[in-house]
Structure formats: C-alpha cells, structure tokens
Symmetry: C2
C-alpha cells in the first residue's frame, strides 16, 4: 500500500490557491472492496488531491465528491502548463467557501472513472490487459466504500463534512446513510434519491449512441469511439442546461456559416453540442462513461431497505440540501421528497431551493447562490460560529 | 394532373367508420410550388384520404394536419388485413368529434414525408433516381402551399376548419396567417410558434444519431440506416412522453430478463425506447425523418415578418388553442405567448390549458379532454349551435 505525505502544497507565487501547484496523489488498497454486486474488486487504486492542512485533532477534513465526468482535480493547477483550474476552484482556497486556511479538503477520483482511479480502462492484474467490459458494475455505494478506505488511511475518523452535487450528492447521501459515524455533516446539491425514468431514458440514449458506434467494439477499442461518445456527451449537455439557459445562450440563432436552407446547416445550440461532444472524446474514456452512467441510473438511496425512511433511519449528521429551480434532470421535487422524509423522522435537515436559470449545472456555475448558507452551516457544524 | 372521385367510402359491414375501407387517393400538380428557399419543387404528388361527403355549398370541409411521422391515413382501415386503425380514428367517424355524417374530412400526407407524397425517397423525374439529399429543404409553410393546391383542386374555397397537433398545429397556424380567406377557423393543439433551443437540441441529437450511422451514407442508402434511425426515434419518444407518464408507465423497473449488475441490463423505459425505435425503422424513411425534423426546427410563425404580432395581423378566422400541462417539448407557455399576442391585437381566440400527465402525446391519447370544447367551437363556426 502506497502512502504519501499529507503536506503537498508548495507555494509558487504565493498569492492564492490558484497560483500554487497541487500534487496529485495515489493510494492502492491491495485487498480492494466487496462490491454491491458481490464481486471483489482488488486491488483498488484511488487518485486524490488534498488542499490545506489536517489539524492535530483531525477534525477539519472535508471530502468533496465529484460528478459524472469529474476528477480529483478540484482546485488550482497541477503544473505551470495547465490552462484550466480545478473544476470547483471557485469555492476552494484561502478565504474561499472551503477555506484552506481552516479546512483540509480532499477530493478523490471515483472507481469506475478514468483519471487514475481503478476503472474499466485500468489494467486487470490477472490478465495484464485492460478490464474493458470485464470490469464489474459498480454502484455509488461502492465508490464510497473505496473512499472510506482512503479516509481511514489518512487517519481521519470523522469528516467534518462531505459535499457534492449531482453524482457527488449521491455519494454524500451514501456517507450519511452508510457511514453515519464517519461524518459530522453533509452538504448535498442538485441530486436525487433515485433518478427518474426520464433521467434514465436520457442516459439510455447516450449509452445507445456509444453502442451504435462500430468502433466501440463492445468496449475493445484502441481509440475512443469518437462519434458515439461525442453524441452521448451532446445528449448529456442537453440535460445539464435548461430551456431558459439555452434561450439566453443560443436562442434560435444559426451557426454563422450555415443557412436556413442548407440541409447540414446548424443552429447555434446544435453546433455547441457538437463542439462540446467532440472535445469530450479527448478527455474521457467511453467505457468509463458507460459504467458511470449505469451507476447513476442504478442509484437508489433506499437500495437494500424497505423504504427511503428506513434508509434515512441511520442518519445522525445534520444534512444541508440545495436544489435548483430549473434543474430538470434532478428536479427540486426529488430533493424535497428526501427533505420531507428526513423532517418527518425528526432528523436535522436544512433545505434551500435556489432560483436559477442554469439548470442542473447551476451548482457549478452559481456558487454565490449557496455560499452564504454553506458558510453558516459549516460554521455551525464546526462549532466556530459566534454565539 | 390526376384527379380522383370525391366519393370513395364504400361501406363493408355498415356499422361505423372503422368498419368501412378507406381509399387512399393521390393527385399530382405538374407545376409544383415555389418553396420558401426559392427552389421550385415540381411536380408534386400528394397522397390524401377523405371521409364523409362534401356538401353542395362546399362549406363542410375540415382539413386535418398530421404530425412529424404521421400520414394521410387518419381513420378507419384501408383493407381487411390492416390491424391498426388510422392515427386519429378516435375522433373521426359518424357521431364522433369530426362527425362524418356532417363534415367532409380531408387528410393529406405532407411533402417531405414518405407515405406517397413527394419527399426525399421519391424519384426525381430529372434523374430517374431517388432525390435523397438533393431534395430541397422544405418548410411548414411549403407543406401548406402544396395543400392549398389540393384544396383548390377539390373545389373548396374555404375550409370550415383546419385542425392539427404538434407539426399539424404549425400547419394550421400557417393556414391562419398565410391563407386567412381560405379558412373559417382553426383548431391548434400542442404546438409552438417556434421550437425552443431545447426542442431543437433534442432533434439535433436525433439527426446526429442518423449521421453517425455508417450505413446512412449521406442519404444514399439502400436500406434504412437502422441503428441510427432507431436511436433517433428513441430520442423522439423521450420528448413525446413526460416525467410523470414515464413514472406511471415504467417507474424504475428493470426489463424482466436483465439484472441490476448486468452491464447490458436494461430498465423497462430503456427497453421501450429500443423496441419502439427499431419498430420505426420498418415504417419511416430516414431521410424523410431528417427533412421533417429540419422543417420542425426551422418553424417560426413570424418568419418573414417583423414580429409575431405582424404575422398574426392577417388572421381573420377564430382560433382555438389547446396546450397540455405536462408537454415539455412545446410547453404551454409557448402557446400562451401566441394567445396573448392574438388577444392583444383583438383577434378571436380561445385557449384551453388541459391538465394531463401524458406530455406532448396527450393530444393523441386524451381526445376526451378537448372533445367538448372542440364540439362547441365547431358548432359555433358552422353556425349550427342551438341559439
């Protein structure tokens, strides 16, 4: 088992988080985990990054969970040549919402993904070849099982909070229900207790787009099946935006070079989906996309329980929920179902419905809408709020 | 120019509409039409069916407009072996909403389609080969241009009403704005003055699915590109249903033979999309699908005008609108924009928002929700209402 030093931030220019280089770390658990399916996945490697310092009491750790196509690179840069900051840089750093002067922030790439953690593109040690479709189906609960090993390896008994949106929110829910003693709170954004058949159907056609690509070859490709994966991602983008945000961003404008009466003429929104779809091919493995889509669709907080209420019975930590008015992928009513259930069983729960035009993506694009509430909630759970 | 007799219903069993055989008719206009694009499409053949008898005054004619993948076969059977009735049989026949004891009902397959009217699969008389992608881009307005020739050829100066849902509603809008003197009323269901970028984006990914299919060959296929077309249709089905109707119909159930941890395991909703997608391949031409998708996306009632208000300036006929609460493809607010605009300019307009869980398909599935209002409206416009 590899273990790497906790202190891994070294200041380069010295102004703020984004100007330091972050070291990507990696840890391997030889005994792996027993998955929900009953299969053993071993060994398991997790790639992760940390920000700030774990204090002596080890009670200032925050685990941030990434969404579908996210990675461990939460904030800052890993080297000078990186042009993009980490995916949630806006809220992580000194003086930011997850203030790295106070908190020790961790983000790990989930199993099933393709950014260093064990996934279908990893080499199966038993065969010396990529897993591809021999990789087992993993669930959100399995992802959290693996993360629990990481947190333990870091010597952390209890996380101050687990925070995530979308698939990240599902993981936070699993921490709250499966490891209630290991968290002091959870912050859960833009998620669902279980995707609706409409959400499933949109992932289903995305999967289908990849299956249709003859270069996918049932997962045994040398190069990503680009047309299928790009289309799958294009479909995803529709669900991340909203009717309103698409209207504001694209309206019914045509792509500059195309005319109305050109058979291949594109609307701006069409060009956007195309462009983003093909960009995605360079950065995400098609099989990982499929495995994670399946994990999303299978997700049900009440899996293995008689009911949602029974699943929530275990919860001890205060939970803070955010839903976004124009999110039609995981609409607010689905979060509200959980909030009602938790309230009825006497749990500590806080809920904010944010009015936003940005659809599902709002949790990434409009952090200022929830920053004050999260700040207050974190102060409360860390007991540092001014009395 | 072909011309066929108006009387074409012959009773077989003699009870009701559905037990008579309908004769599909066809008419060819050698001079064709000048399209919105400026191109001439000639000759044009229209396949159509009629039900009931045109009266001596020729003022009892109702034109019903079909939607995207519909056809001229509105009601009844065309022969004994047909197992399915026409697509809107529920409302057409003696004693039904469009009572064929009183009205002369016409339905024509639109140009661009593949059920006998001129479309991309037709033989281009200049080359002796299928048009395929040499077929010109046609608009909703072009479809109505062709229908105007048909109506004239039937000796009808003024239609009692034009009725249609979805793409059929767009055609009814075009009659109201482009041929105000040729209609006495219009009944417009589940449509939009212009599809939103969200609606466009869903058609865009459907198009993309066909473009990705290597057997499509830029339209030069011998056999329908089945995987691409099936997926495109699957995407369409998502937009025809609603979150609520999918929940009621499928929930999160798995397809019987598939397990949760099977990589290729399917949810019921996934199986449904697949099944309907592949069924569609046998009955609809992929190029027609693309041309009509484009016509839908391009549709804008205000095309060629300064504003919607200016487009509606021409309207003289009373218009009756229906929108369905769970229709997220062409949501009620889009119909309401037209109703508000018409009301503000002093036009005769009636609007009903129907509460329904069935999404966009509600106009086809729940005719009983609008039947009484349409009945009353028709009685008013035909001047037969009891005073």
């Amino acid at each position: 088992m590899q273990f790497q030093p906790l202190l891994h931030l070294f200041e380069v220019k010295g102004f703020f988080m984004s100007e330091m280089y972050i070291v990507e770390q990696s840890i391997t658990f030889e005994s792996g985990v027993r998955l929900d399916s009953g299969r053993i996945l071993a060994p398991i490697t997790l790639v992760y990054e940390t920000y700030g310092k774990l204090n002596a009491l080890k009670n200032n750790a925050i685990l941030v969970e990434h969404a579908w196509t996210g990675d461990a690179h939460l904030a800052g840069k890993r080297n000078e040549s990186e042009t993009k900051l980490g995916w949630w840089d806006a809220i992580v750093g000194p003086g930011r919402l997850l203030d790295t002067d106070h908190y020790f922030v961790i983000c790990a790439n989930v199993i099933g993904s393709c950014f260093g953690s064990t996934g279908p593109a990893s080499i199966n040690p038993k065969t010396g070849k990529r897993f591809n479709l021999t990789f087992p189906v993993v669930t959100i609960r399995d992802m959290v099982r693996a993360q629990k090993l990481l947190i333990e390896s870091l010597g952390i008994e209890r996380l101050l909070t687990v925070m995530g949106g979308s698939m990240g929110g599902m993981q936070a829910l699993e921490w709250a229900t499966q490891y209630p003693d290991s968290i002091s709170s959870a912050i859960i954004l833009a998620t669902t207790p279980r995707p609706s058949p409409q959400a499933i159907s949109l992932n289903a056609v995305a999967r289908w787009a990849i299956f249709n690509d003859p270069t996918w070859r049932k997962g045994e490709y040398k190069h990503n099946p680009k047309d299928g994966l790009a289309l799958a991602r294009g479909i995803g983008h529709i669900t991340f935006l909203s009717d309103e945000s698409m209207n504001a961003k694209f309206g019914r404008r045509f792509s500059a070079r195309d005319g109305k009466f050109d058979f291949f003429g594109q609307f701006e929104v069409e060009r956007y989906l195309n462009y983003n779809g093909y960009n995605f091919v360079d950065r995400f493995d098609a099989n990982s996309f499929l495995y994670l889509a399946k994990a999303l669709d299978l997700y049900d907080v009440a899996w293995g329980y008689e009911s949602m209420a029974e699943a929530f019975n275990n919860v001890t930590a205060p939970l803070q929920f955010f839903a976004f008015s124009s999110d039609w992928l995981y609409p607010p009513y689905q979060t509200e179902e959980m909030v009602t259930c938790l309230t009825e069983t006497g749990k500590s729960v806080e809920y904010h419905l944010i009015t936003s035009a940005y659809g599902h993506d709002a949790f990434l694009l409009e952090h200022e809408t929830f920053t004050p509430m999260v700040q207050k909630f974190l102060a409360q759970v860390s007991g540092t709020e001014n009395a």
